[in-house]
């Protein structure tokens, strides 16, 4: 019996040599809805080891994702979370972000966050620029409604001074060509041209195109 206890005591360091955080899930995916500004989620974990664990480092793959631990040190048996906030900004499409958690037991765990941001309207290019002296030729922005069900672009507002703008719907029903032309490129003008749609206002969804004529010397 004493031999068994001795064996167990000698073996004990092997079992508790490394403290361990056990994660409920290390990958999460989300799909955003129009008008959403952030994606907030948590990654819960538990300290299953025999020693306390401290979070020594938290790195995210981009500045758009912030990660905060519920607290820094976890006693054995204690649970916690890493709370993450992903800002959508003007991003669209598939966004894959990683959060790396480093702990005092010299281990690191990667957490994955995948956010799919449906593109409602493709605006190509997203801005149009003429420089002073450049010929005042027409430039076209191609608009393609990607949302399902599709919405309609009904008009323009906020057209900058001295810019002539016209909207040409395309036969496919989801495409449009926005024709833009300045009266001249001699003097600067600039502003955000807004596209009016038949989407409900309360969603806070806005589509804009930046249009500008630059002045000759930016240092003036």
């Amino acid at each position: 019996m004493r031999l068994l206890i001795l064996a167990f005591v000698l073996a004990a360091p092997v079992f508790t040599a490394r403290a361990e955080l056990v994660w409920e899930k290390t990958e999460q995916s989300f799909k955003t809805v129009p008008g959403q500004v952030t994606v907030k989620t948590s990654y819960p974990f538990k300290n299953n080891g025999a020693d306390p664990v401290t979070i020594t480092g938290l790195k995210t793959s981009c500045g758009c994702t912030t990660a905060t631990p519920s607290k820094l040190t976890y006693a054995p048996g204690e649970s916690g979370t890493i709370d993450t906030v992903f800002s959508i900004g003007t991003r669209t499409g598939l966004q894959k972000k990683t959060i790396q958690v480093e702990t005092s037991d010299h281990r690191s765990q990667e957490l994955f966050l995948t956010v799919t941001i449906p593109e409602l309207l493709r605006i190509e290019p997203s801005f149009v620029l003429w420089t002073a002296g450049e010929p005042a030729t027409e430039k076209i922005v191609t608009l393609t409604v990607k949302a399902n069900p599709p919405f309609k672009i009904t008009g323009l507002k906020g057209v900058p001074e001295k810019i002539k703008a016209s909207l040409e719907p395309l036969p496919d029903g989801v495409g449009y060509r926005l024709h833009l032309q300045p009266k001249d490129t001699a003097s600067p003008t600039e502003g955000w041209l807004e596209l009016k749609t038949d989407l409900p206002d309360d969603k806070g969804i806005r589509f804009r195109v930046y249009v500008g004529v630059n002045q000759a010397d930016p240092t003036l």
Partner: protein, 142 residues
């Protein structure tokens, strides 16, 4: 009108003499020219080369917090979050012929490529992504 021709040996000799002066000077000077543009992917530019572009417009594509902690002098912050607010200022600073250099934190980050893509779609060119990002700039600091 009579113009005297030079003797070829003396004409070439001057060049040789110049080389004999230039090579030691290369070792004497601290600020030396570079001959090897380090190999970087298409559309990207190495930090050493980027620094040598005069009148370049530097764009920081990182977060506001990172930008505040330190950025390339004169760089403008333009990322996917503040795109709408910052784009006008960036476009007003740019004019054709001015190269644009976009950087984010390191080799692995995507933000600089995304910003560069958006700028190029609007016919801003040439736009380069800084190979290695902010990290490379820190290593390169003269």
């Amino acid at each position: 009108m009579r113009i005297p021709f030079p003797t070829l040996s003396s004409f070439a000799g001057l060049l040789l003499l110049a080389a004999m002066v230039a090579v030691p000077n290369f070792y004497l000077q601290e600020r030396r020219p570079q001959f090897l543009a380090p190999a970087v992917p298409q559309g990207e530019i190495a930090a050493a080369q980027a620094r040598m572009l005069p009148q370049a417009l530097w764009i920081d594509a990182r977060s506001f917090a990172d930008y505040n902690q330190g950025h390339m002098p004169g760089a403008l912050l333009l990322n996917e979050d503040n795109w709408d607010e910052s784009l006008p200022q960036v476009l007003q600073q740019w004019k054709p012929g001015v190269p644009v250099i976009v950087y984010c934190s390191s080799v692995s980050c995507e933000a600089s490529h995304e910003i560069a893509k958006r700028l190029m779609a609007g016919s801003v060119k040439p736009v380069f992504v800084l190979h290695g990002g902010w990290e490379a700039l820190q290593k390169e600091a003269p």
